[in-house]
Subunit: 309 residues, 4 copies
Amino acid sequence: MHEQFENIESIKIPALDAILGKKFPVLNDGFIRVIDYMGGDEAVVQAARVSYGKGTKQVHQDRGLIRYLLRHKHSTPFEMCEIKLHIRIPMDAWRQWIRHRTANVNEYSTRYSLAIDSAQNTKYDEWRLQSSDNKQGSSGFFDSHLGQVLSEEEANLHKNLKEIYLKRVEMGMAREQARKDLPLSTYTEAYWKIDLHNLLHFLKLRMDLHAQFEIRQYATLIGQEIVSKWVPITWEAFTDFSLNSTDFSGLEMQILKKIIEKDEISANEIAKNSGWLEIDKNGELKLSLERMEFEQKIITLGLIPNWKA
Amino acid sequence: MHEQFENIESIKIPALDAILGKKFPVLNDGFIRVIDYMGGDEAVVQAARVSYGKGTKQVHQDRGLIRYLLRHKHSTPFEMCEIKLHIRIPMDAWRQWIRHRTANVNEYSTRYSLAIDSAQNTKYDEWRLQSSDNKQGSSGFFDSHLGQVLSEEEANLHKNLKEIYLKRVEMGMAREQARKDLPLSTYTEAYWKIDLHNLLHFLKLRMDLHAQFEIRQYATLIGQEIVSKWVPITWEAFTDFSLNSTDFSGLEMQILKKIIEKDEISANEIAKNSGWLEIDKNGELKLSLERMEFEQKIITLGLIPNWKA
Amino acid sequence: MHEQFENIESIKIPALDAILGKKFPVLNDGFIRVIDYMGGDEAVVQAARVSYGKGTKQVHQDRGLIRYLLRHKHSTPFEMCEIKLHIRIPMDAWRQWIRHRTANVNEYSTRYSLAIDSAQNTKYDEWRLQSSDNKQGSSGFFDSHLGQVLSEEEANLHKNLKEIYLKRVEMGMAREQARKDLPLSTYTEAYWKIDLHNLLHFLKLRMDLHAQFEIRQYATLIGQEIVSKWVPITWEAFTDFSLNSTDFSGLEMQILKKIIEKDEISANEIAKNSGWLEIDKNGELKLSLERMEFEQKIITLGLIPNWKA
Amino acid sequence: MHEQFENIESIKIPALDAILGKKFPVLNDGFIRVIDYMGGDEAVVQAARVSYGKGTKQVHQDRGLIRYLLRHKHSTPFEMCEIKLHIRIPMDAWRQWIRHRTANVNEYSTRYSLAIDSAQNTKYDEWRLQSSDNKQGSSGFFDSHLGQVLSEEEANLHKNLKEIYLKRVEMGMAREQARKDLPLSTYTEAYWKIDLHNLLHFLKLRMDLHAQFEIRQYATLIGQEIVSKWVPITWEAFTDFSLNSTDFSGLEMQILKKIIEKDEISANEIAKNSGWLEIDKNGELKLSLERMEFEQKIITLGLIPNWKA
């Protein structure tokens, strides 16, 4: 390691270079595009190998190493890659996005400049019903007729709010104050720079079905169109070990073992001792989120619990 | 340091305990209140003294130590204090607030719950004019008559937007979507937890005259009503060495020296070589922000530059 | 929510107050003690409920809520609790500790003060053998006789290094330079402040059997003696859903399903297509970490795979 | 901003590309080299201009904008640039380095691999004396004769410690334990990745004369040989407005004004009221760090205070 000069070059990913600057449309008027990046799968491997003081670089071994690192949550090598995106997004979704603190951000200023002249409109078939079983989600859509009425009303509202904003500005009102009644659906833009480890964490949370529809469109696009091209081996490992994984608690493993062994009595007993099988006044099983989530997991294994309270 | 038990107690600050939970009003319907805290001036000193392996604790010395730490930007001892605030603030101001990433946040969810039924209204004498010399600021107010018209229009707008929101919710629309056209002036609430070092950084930026009026009200209140009671010695030092300090660049110190020495020729020459004294087509001094900011600083020293381009 | 004064008090945890300042010994001359803290289980619940705009506080519901938050990786409510520890630890273990960046630190300065006059010694039955199957671990111990020789040699070495250090200092050498040849086993001390979410992450990694013995002693003590008293409900949930959980990848769930269904042919085929069953020149199954880790997991479910390459 | 494809390319800095991978030697056996980077002065400007929604790009204006951003501590545009360095450094200096938390790190593992076979040796003319006026610094050197003795003793010590380490490893001792008595002067290596804003903060602290000699060598090299080539305009602005700047507190500005006006009585009075002019039992001015630091600052302006206690 003592030679004074080893000629190296920046890591370049042709598949990502090919889409640099390309605007991937999202929602009615948003987009994502890649501005620049540093590193790739190779840089993850390179960093992990600093630890071992050697430099073997066979593709086969690289894949195994990356999968090992991701599976065992060795996060620092993934922090060695960095990407910078240009995002155009409704402020409402941006409010959720910005809660991820481990990123660098430069946002379009509506104190300095005129607000972006665009708001997220909703098509007649996109109005969502409140979910009945998930207090913070949506499920299903309004019928087209009602949707049409809502969309028209929204179009009028956006037009009205825009006129008020522009009138205020033209009167000479400070832009920082004129904007106060713009709707949350107004678009904003930002440069957003983040390392690969934290980006994967963001995608894990925001590609999830519980994430709001709007931000999920952005996250899914980043994952499928950008990260998959940038770091294909890492993306595959992330899909296997994070996006599609299932977690069993210590308790759940015990019950699962008994169910596999067809020992229903023991399975029932453990569940009972853990408070999963409480009875209400009518003699029915009380709602237990832990129990219900467990049931959903073992159904994918082809198993059905047979609780006796 | 080897005794196995030294009875200690949590640091308590009676002046802060006295206002725990008290809602300090801000704007028309916002507030700030302290929920909990850890440490105080004493904890700053305690941490700094870990470094020296001793524990002298005379108030006089404590003050000197804290002032030394703050003056020399030794930030880690100030990180040993933590405070948790409950904040009610218009979303527009919150969008700026949340850009400070080194804090912990739990915000009121309008996916799960109904949006807060309140928006920041603007009184007839609070409508601000766009600043002419600062592209992102405001300066002066609209006259009362016009203000009255604007305030009425705003009141109607808020009423209208609120009705649309509630109608959507009552129709069964998902709350996460119903909210999309709420105005940025809608109030939100959050628990916000931060260490003293990062809080002071926040205050430095947001108590500044260039910060937007709304967030400045919150920052000033936190500084003057809360931090001043929590850590009075640190607050005094922060006021002296950070809030009220003036910074001269290497170049500015050279020019200042020449001006003090009444050596106008040298002052002029250095300024010229630094590009401060360029001439436009009409033979007038071009606008130079660096030069103008320097002039403002030395005016507070009773000095006036006499440039010759 | 509009009353201007709601009297509240700092959250106090008597079980933690009772051990405030108590030095829990670790290794031959290290310790951990709690200096101060903010919040507790109640503060986690309080923060989570900001989201819902209400304040029900029944213990039964609190437990369910905390378990839900931890199970679904809602981390922000756990960030609302903070703890400050005083740690005495060999520099070697501290080098690993300090890699966790989301904490506040004030370390004893050996530039300013004399180095701590103590090094971690190793008893004759504590000398560990290099693990043969884990390149970065240890397994088993040297025999007592050899251990005795090693311990004596170490004692002499520490004595020698200490004398050289003190001689240098007495000669007038700068302390910052005199220390350069102190052994990594030299003790250091620090104040370490961290929020509960990040502390749990630290414990997950450092209580793990793959963590080095020394740091594992500290982490285990923090978990079992401190966190368990501070936030008993969170600690129980963390034990269930994080410390003792088992994670199956999407692929592993598919194979597990087939094994449970006793469909060995399909199980084998999926494994083969995933590269788990490659054969070496001698017709033996090649080593596959992914396959071996899967086997270990299903053995705890009472299952044994029957691969056919 | 609506065209769907704008062809862009990664920002490349030829002057930095030319030294990519080049090992700049530091101390007797350390080095720094650039592995990769993202962005440059142009990216700072690009990010700042997101705010204004336009894209003018004249070099003259770029320089003014960068200087404005740095002078007014607008840090986010500088966070848009990232650099990755490979560092070889004694563990003792690395212990200070790693205290900067806003960076990504992968360090050489001495659990997995053999420790690096090199320690920082000290030449006969490099042994430093403890500073008498700065408790944590050094000043001046031991004479050559004594230096020679110290260097020889150190060489023997390093040889001895290395032999003990290797003997332990050869006996089969776990590497994680064998290393415990290596000296702090042992070299380690790491990949270190950081954004430009945080790198400048690091340089401000570690190029300072109060930083320890060893780490100062690394910081100075990074600044002068690397950052100056990577972002020449930012580097110039940083030198002017940060490295070489002088800060006056509110109080100091008041006293300075009086001194410039030759109003010694008022200057004295303000200083007295601020506790700068306390008298000890012998009627002498007590030591006051604040006063002394002020004196040093105004001496560079050609002024001398004339205190009367």
